[in-house]
Structure formats: structure tokens, C-alpha cells
């Protein structure tokens, strides 16, 4: 999958490496900013309140 994507990126090798790095960075950013904070509400391991609050 990743190989296929990489082969289909346009431009010379250095440009494809750059594009791939940008894609990875974008994915990490989306995960950290939106997906994980949303997912965090289902994570019971950091509940510090007491008495069913």
C-alpha cells in the first residue's frame, strides 16, 4: 500500500520523500489534535473524580 502510494507520487525521488514526510506529519497532526482528544473520552484510565461524577 505504502509502496504503491510512494510509486505514484509525482516528481523526482527527493520530492517524493518530501511529500511522503509531509503526509506523515499531517496524519500525526490530525491524530494528535482531533482524533486522540476525541478518543480520550472513552479512556477510563484517567478518571480522577469520585462518586459517579
Amino acid at each position: 500500500m505504502y509502496g504503491w502510494i510512494f510509486r505514484h507520487l509525482p516528481g523526482p525521488l527527493w520530492f517524493r520523500i518530501l511529500t511522503a514526510a509531509l503526509f506523515i506529519a499531517a496524519a500525526v497532526l490530525v491524530l494528535m489534535q482531533f482524533v486522540f482528544p476525541w478518543f480520550s473520552q472513552f479512556n477510563p484510565i484517567n478518571d480522577s473524580t469520585i462518586g459517579g461524577n
Binding site: 500500500m1 500525526v28 491524530l31 494528535m32 478518543f39 484517567n46 478518571d47 469520585i50 462518586g51 461524577n53
Partner: protein, 287 residues
């Protein structure tokens, strides 16, 4: 090998070789086709397996990234938010940031009368004070926010249970905070020693609580938040402060509760207690 009769001089077996070549070529072509077909078939399965493998590796990396986010990034993120909230509170705070001149030795500490208790704000997310706990570090100052929902605890740190009183009130001023992650505001709660001071600053002044004891309870034991902690129907006469957090660290099987009792109060106009004066001034200058 058989000599071909008509071409005595011809090199040995050319016809045969040519005929053989032709046959071989078509055999080869057939073979290639078969191999290609097989390869396509195998290629499909192979691609599927490879895709599944790459997706699984990706899932593993994402889970690891989540752990990094939870244990590392949330602390940085919430730490910034909390620092900003403290700065903003300090900016709006009316009152001197230098402590009053110490009383001459032998005289009792100045008595400012019963503490002013601000009315309950009951608007989740509003920062109404700052807590200073020197045992957690001499620059430990964290905002006190109304409410204990995730929206408050995950960003601003120390949330007030809205069923509890405001700082200085007779009864129980109860606060929750994360042990780990999101600023880890109460990570060091187990290091409190009886006698340790917990200073609470509101717009009205400074409330000095003294840590008395801690207790480890089950997450369902809500009676630690009662006006007299764990005493049902008791009428409060003292001013308690209760801190709740997770126990053990990185777990939620239990809750760790720290109880403190108010010792003294001084209005904002009297300046901060000497022990936290430097930090109060630092927060003000950062604002």
C-alpha cells in the same frame, strides 16, 4: 541424432533445431502465459496479505502514538493552558503581591476575622482561583476551575466539585485533579506530609489550609465529598478542603483523597502569605 538425408552438407540438425526452436518457443509462450496467470493469482493474495500487514503495522504505530500523546503531549498542552489561566487570573487580581511586614516576635498572627467566601459561581470552566502547594514544588501554582467534567479537568487541572463549598466556606471545599496526564496536577499528592500548607488564592484573598491526612478509597465512595467528609448528616463546623485523584499512578482502581483543614485567612489587601509571595509576584509579572 539422425542425419537428414537431403542436406548432406548442412550442419547437423539445423532443421530439427529450427523445428525444435519453434516448438520450444510456443511452449515457452504457453508457459509464460500460465506463469503470468499464476503470478496474477498469487499476486492478488500477496497484495491482500501485504495490505493487511501494513494496516496492522499502522494500527500499532497509531496506538503507540496515542500513548505518547496521552502521557507526554497532554501534559505539555494542559501545562500551557494552565499557565495562561494562572497568568490571566494574576493580571486581573487586585491587591499587593508583597507580603505584609512580619508581626514582631511574640505577638499572635494578625486576625482578619471570618473569611470572605465568594458566592458559588456554578459556571463550569470558569477560573476562580489559584492553588499553591509548596510541597509539589516551590513554583507550583495551578488554576482552580469550576466543575469536574473532562472539559475542565483535561485542560485547566484542578476542578471544584460543584456540590462542595467555595474556598473558606464552612464545610468541604472539594477539588479533583489528574494524577497523570493533562498536566498531572496532583501527581505528588502522596508526598504530602501532615502540616503541609495548601494556599488558595481567590479574588477576595488567601486561604491557608493545612494538610491533615490522606485516605485511599474505592472510586464509588462519594461520601468523602460530604460537608464533613465521610460523616453522613453531620453538621459542619470546620472548613475542610478535600483533594481527590487517581490511585495508583497510571490506574483508576482506587482514589487517593487528601484532607486539609483551614488554618487562617487574609484578605487580598493584606498581601500574600510570605511562603508563596515570590510565586504570586512571579505569576503577576508573567501576566
Amino acid at each position: 541424432m539422425v542425419r537428414s538425408p537431403g542436406h548432406v552438407d548442412a550442419p547437423l540438425g539445423v532443421d530439427e533445431l529450427l523445428a525444435g526452436n519453434k516448438a520450444a518457443r510456443s511452449r515457452q509462450a504457453r508457459n509464460r502465459k500460465r506463469v503470468r496467470a499464476a503470478r496474477t493469482r498469487r499476486g492478488f493474495v500477496r497484495t491482500l496479505i501485504q495490505l493487511a500487514g501494513e494496516l496492522l503495522i499502522t494500527a500499532g504505530v497509531v496506538v503507540l502514538l496515542f500513548v505518547v500523546w496521552e502521557l507526554w503531549w497532554t501534559n505539555i498542552d494542559a501545562g500551557n493552558t494552565q499557565q495562561n489561566a494562572v497568568s490571566q487570573f494574576a493580571r486581573n487580581f487586585q491587591g499587593p503581591v508583597t507580603p505584609a511586614a512580619p508581626q514582631p516576635a511574640g505577638t499572635p498572627p494578625k486576625n482578619y476575622g471570618p473569611p470572605v467566601v465568594m458566592p458559588a459561581i456554578n459556571s463550569p470552566g470558569e477560573v476562580f482561583g489559584v492553588a499553591y502547594i509548596p510541597r509539589f514544588g516551590k513554583d507550583y501554582s495551578r488554576p482552580l476551575v469550576d466543575g469536574v467534567a473532562r472539559a475542565q479537568l483535561d485542560t485547566l487541572g484542578l476542578g471544584r466539585y460543584e456540590s462542595s463549598t467555595m474556598p473558606g466556606g464552612v464545610g468541604n471545599f472539594a477539588v479533583a485533579g489528574h494524577r497523570q496526564t493533562h498536566g498531572a496536577v496532583l501527581d505528588a499528592i502522596d508526598t504530602l506530609v501532615p502540616g503541609d500548607k495548601i494556599y488558595v488564592q481567590t479574588k477576595d484573598g488567601y486561604y491557608t489550609y493545612v494538610f491533615r491526612n490522606d485516605q485511599i478509597v474505592l472510586p464509588t465512595q462519594g461520601d468523602v465529598l460530604l460537608p464533613v467528609p465521610t460523616q453522613k448528616n453531620a453538621k459542619p463546623t470546620q472548613r475542610f478542603m478535600t483533594l481527590t485523584s487517581c490511585n495508583p499512578r497510571f490506574g483508576t482502581q482506587e482514589r487517593i483523597i487528601a484532607y486539609a483543614v483551614m488554618e487562617s485567612w487574609q484578605p487580598a489587601s493584606a498581601g500574600p502569605p510570605a511562603a508563596i509571595a515570590a510565586q504570586v509576584a512571579a505569576n503577576k509579572s508573567k501576566g
